[in-house]
Amino acid sequence: MKLLNLIRLAIRALQRNKLRALLTMLGIIIGVASVITMMSIGEGSKESINASLASMGSNMITITPYSNEPGGARLGGSSFKTLTMKDVDAMRKDAPDISIISPLASSSGQAINGASNWPTNIQGVSPEYMDIRKLVIKDGIMFSDQDVRASAKVCLLGKTVVDNLFPGGEDPIGKVIRFGNIPFQIIGVLVPKGYSNFGQDQDDLIIAPYTTVQKRITSTIYFGSIYASAINEGASDIAVTEISAILRESHRLRDNQDNDFQVRTQAELMTMMNSTSSMMTALLTAVASISLVIGGIGIMNIMYVSVTERTREIGLRMSIGARGIDILLQFLIEAVMISITGGVIGVVIGVSAAIIVPKMLNWPTVISEFSIVISFVVCAVTGIFFGYYPALKASRLDPIEALRYE
């Protein structure tokens, strides 16, 4: 029988049992819809992580202290005292693939303005920090190298700190606040950045010269971390190699000693974050795929019923000249039709859900063509796989017995 006629036949057979066909499709519909929704949520979160990491500076390199002492209690990174200004100067001088560099000495404490106070974090940095972290000044100015050398008691505030210290809404520029016991004059306010992907308020900070923070607050010559920018994104890996070499030399590490620092690029961070989100996507998709399999079993079940129900029809078709392959194709196409129709409905529901979810739950979603294509392929394969055995059974019926079947 010609393919077109077979397809027409299958459509007719499904139309005769509309409700049954729909119920059979349900498993596939739910499966496809959930796969597409899950994948678009996964893609969406991946993309938003990438976007926010890129906003932090895509060629940013972070250097943190790291334990290289085997044995004994290992301590967190910030408790190691390995990074000093000497390292920063060495890198500034000897690493050609680094464009700018800034140390970071931070401390948490209470910021006080008159009757208002707010627990926050002060970050002691050099002026280049602004460019590395893509921070922008909204009002006022950045402190200068002169301020750094003089350990000037000047600072810039993030929006959260401004809101909490100046609840009346007055202009903070030029005012003096205290961080702990140290008075700081406010010379600038930063453009708000909002929350990071880790749920951290990126506007809850005070920026001051690192010399001031080191001398007056932390009383140490060590830095918690060093931030640098590679000359471009592609140079990140070379820059990491250069940094490692310089730091190993400046820390006088022997060949058999591990690094006492850790260098991470933004690209690595991106990969790390993405691997978490990819794993979640894979997991959710796997769960959703199970319902596709269940849907397929549903198709198989109903096709067996259909074959039994239509035994006489099969017998008749055979007696008037249908070959085994004609009968096989008839039932196979019917099964594939169920699964593909279910797939189409599933795609429509899945895509709608991917459009509605960001509005209802505020989760970002990205609908990928890939997920739609793969759903279709999986549907067709499901139909063929689960429809094949019932169809084979039908095609192998003995026409004599099938004709007499009651």
Partner: protein, 248 residues
Amino acid sequence: MSNKILEILNVKREFTMGTEIVRALKGVSFEVNSGEFVTIMGSSGSGKTTLLNMLGCLDKPTDGIYMLDKVNIKELSRDELAKLRNRKIGFVFQAYNLLPRTTALENVELPLLYNPTVSTKERKERAIAALQAVKLDGRFDHTPNQLSGGQQQRVAIARALVNEPVMILADEATGNLDTRTSYEIMSLMQDLNQNGRTIVFVTHEPDIAGFSSRTITLKDGRVQKDSMNTNNRSAKEALASLPAADDY
């Protein structure tokens, strides 16, 4: 005419039921020429059904030769048998076996769907012609449950005619019908026969056999009697002689 449509030579058919061998046909031989109207009679268990399945190419003989239109059935595969059924045989069943919820026209078109040499347009034309030949002009769009038993059987006959077979094979085609409708169907069969169709009609009613030109009687898997009906009745006259139908 001595154009042999059917040639059966010492055909045997055995079935194995568990450990027992059932010999349904024990050596049957006869020939049917083109244009004959043959009835095959026999009581139940005489091998009638087995012979019919064989004639219809649904089954193959265990032993012996069956030539249909000069083709030896024994050498054909399952698919080749299907093709042969499609092109050379028109089946008419006792239970009509029409597809439910499918119009008369589509039911008649069915055999042509399995013949890829027939185009969609030709298929429809031939189905309409076949339905007209069985006098069902105004019923193309009726489904089987909208038709009477006699009409359903006529749709089935149209379906058997549509592929222009060399032989129409009827299995108790009047078994489910009342006398009047049976006669109508037999009258139709006689008309078709007069137009040159070869008909093999299996029945157990001697009354029906009287309308044919030749009767083969089976008993215990053997041909008991094979005789020409010299004074075969006309179904039209028999119909006319029936008392007038009750008005309803």
